[in-house]
Amino acid sequence: MASDNTTVLITGGTVVNRSGETRADVLLSGGIIQRVEPNLDATLPAESSGGPRRLAAEGCVVSSSFVDLHTHMREPGREESETIATASRAAALGGYGACVAMPNTDPAQDNVAVVEFVRLQGERAGLITVSPAGCITIGRNGTQLAPFHSMVAAGVRLFTDDGSGVQDPLIMRRALEYARQLGITIAQHCEVARLTDGAVMHEGCCSSRLGLPGWPAIAEVLMLQRDIELVRETGASMHFLHLSTARSVEIVRQAKNDGLPVTAEVTPHHLSLTDEKLTSFSTLFKVNPPLRTMQDVEALRAGLADGTIDAIATDHAPHAAHLKDQDLSLAPPGMLGLQTALGVALGYSGCTTKRIVEAMSWAPAKIAGLDATHGSDLVAGAAANLVVFSTEGVWRQTPESIVSKSRNSPYFDSDLVGSVHHVVHRGDVVVVGGALQ
């Protein structure tokens, strides 16, 4: 647990800010960045002489810590799979300073009591900022609007029924009317449920061969198009969760060209894995939306690189072993993501380091409404939420290295690149040398 909110000097790293990359040391105290200048290490007293604690960052990037727009923390209700405390540990090790907790808990985050509980559990864990999303509809049932005004007053800025899409166009239209008025963002899981009944993987050549029920790309595309028209009409902000198809990238690109207030995210797994993984019939690769084709992966990478897709978001979805040890139709969809997101981004996205920092920190902080404290440039006066990471070195995840309560990672056989060295959250050093403090 972090408790050393003292003076810290991060030495020898390359600071990545919007304005560019510079070699500089970073001095923190009182939860605030005090100075960002070259050679502070040489001018300030040594640690042994009462000077600031040193964190070595030679050869590393120093940036604002990551912000995950899409974390299933499973608490309350599914604590056998994950808790806010264990998800916080995984997040901190992954370089995150804040996570948006998805509201498909039990009970759902559709009222002030539950969102306050989730936020408080995050504070108790004390490693990252946990920002609860609210439901769009009560119990995510798609029929009755959740109490937006009350939850906004409690600090909620992002609303979603993630796990399922809002099917009813009337409900979505009303939600967007409220969203415009309240200045909040509606985040949609684009899936026309009528087209995906029983689906366990992408519908295509692979599913045809394997005889598995398919989740067609068109089920995402149709809802995306509908909602973009609703955004055009209402003027509300909408965020599209976990885009998975090539066509979706084209549609969002056009919507942005039209000047619509839309944003979008892509998961690490949709940037790195394809439906061919299902030839193993392993439930580790069942995820919603499903892994798609290499053509989709390449379009998503291009969309991320050119800014059509704003953010990389994990859709971290822990499931206890006995839940994944079922047949593919019964096993719940989802895979871990927090500890591997950076390694996937560096290894598979094809993006520059700066673009990765933008997509994993700056942009999601703004979409989540956390930009007062997260995703800031590292300058004097900014909140001390930052990460030090290396962009080199190839590694593979092992089950033993997972700190989530569940082990459902899809990356045991994949090469990942780079690693998180240190994480500072609100001035507290929470990760040093890739280990929790």
Partner: protein, 323 residues
């Protein structure tokens, strides 16, 4: 061969070997005492999470003819869901000393997953719309023997008609017949072809077949008419308009029967839907010079399944001869 999960895992040599062993098994079944001691130390457990009395009895008969002990576990998936997990069920039964699981499940891939859960051998008796390998083998055996072709079906023209999309039989039989050299045309409305065919200008990679949407166009040009079972439930998601509409365009009717080639054969994996895919009196086939192989398919199923169980343990042929 440690398990039999999919015919995609077997090459032409493997399949021909299994069919030749099935010839030996058919000979055993013709003896006054149709039983050999080959597997008398083995325990075969049929694990059927989806009802199929026919397939289960065929496997259990095959196991008994090889002198194996047989155990039967049947459960609808829904009752399993309520209690013990599938993996626990498999581990529990394996702990009782099962050597071979013969498993059927509504979901593709479950037999393969089972190979990771226990040390027993696994024979796939049908998993979702994926594979039903012993059906493919018994179809290849029945057809090649009926045509007197040995293990070579080159030049034989086969139409597989019906619900290809949801059919594990189609995927298995297509593979077995293709590997032995047959040329295959899938005949179905577009909705009942696998999703990879939707909107495609040509046959997708990995499907060594031709495609037709008209049984009338192919009925006079084929040596083998292989009809698949059309389930009424396919109306629910608009795959078909009605059984009557399907039957009129994709069923074997009197009119289509009269246009079949003399010497051609009819096959069906069973159970048949009379009046839907089979809309003729089967006794009238002989009048048109068309052979009905449907009963032979059932009979041969036992010899082929004996061959599979026998081959799993790599027993020598002397075990068949010693009585």
């Amino acid at each position: 061969m440690r398990h039999l999960i999919s015919l995609d895992d077997l090459d032409a040599h493997d399949i021909a070997g299994l069919l030749s062993t099935a010839d030996h098994m058919a000979e055993v079944l013709g003896r006054p005492q149709p039983k050999v001691p080959a597997l008398r130390t083995k325990t075969v457990c049929s694990l059927f999470f989806e009802d199929s009395t026919r397939t289960r009895l065929s496997f259990e008969t095959a196991a008994k003819r090889l002198s194996a002990e047989t155990l039967t576990f049947t459960a609808s998936s829904s009752s399993v869901n309520k209690g013990e997990s599938l993996r626990d069920t498999v581990e529990t039964l394996a702990a009782m000393g099962v050597d071979v699981f013969v498993v059927r499940h509504k979901t593709a891939g479950l037999p393969l997953s089972m190979t990771n859960w226990c040390d027993a051998r696994v024979v796939n008796a049908g998993d979702g719309a994926h594979q039903h390998p012993t059906q493919g083998l018994l179809d290849a055996f029945t057809l090649s023997r009926a045509l007197g072709r040995g293990n070579d079906l080159s030049g034989v023209r086969v139409a597989i008609v019906g619900d290809i999309r949801h059919s594990r039989v189609a995927r298995s039989t297509l593979r077995a017949l293709h590997v032995l050299g047959a040329s295959i045309t899938l005949v179905a409305p577009a909705s009942l072809l696998p999703a990879a065919f939707v909107g495609a200008d040509s046959v997708p990679d990995g499907w060594p077949v031709g495609v037709s949407h008209s049984l009338d166009e192919v009925i006079g040009e084929i040596d083998v008419l292989y009809l698949l079972r059309m389930q009424r439930e396919r109306m629910d998601n608009a795959f078909i308009s009605s059984p009557g509409e399907y039957s009129a365009h994709f069923g074997l009717t009197d009119g289509r029967l009269s246009r079949m080639r003399k010497g051609s054969v009819l096959m069906h994996p069973g159970p048949m839907n009379h009046g839907i895919e089979v809309a003729v009196d089967l006794d009238s086939l002989a009048d048109h010079g068309v052979a009905n192989l449907i009963t032979q398919q059932v009979t041969n199923g036992i010899a082929v399944r004996m061959s599979v169980l026998f081959t799993l343990f790599g027993a020598g042929s002397e075990a068949i001869d010693g009585q």
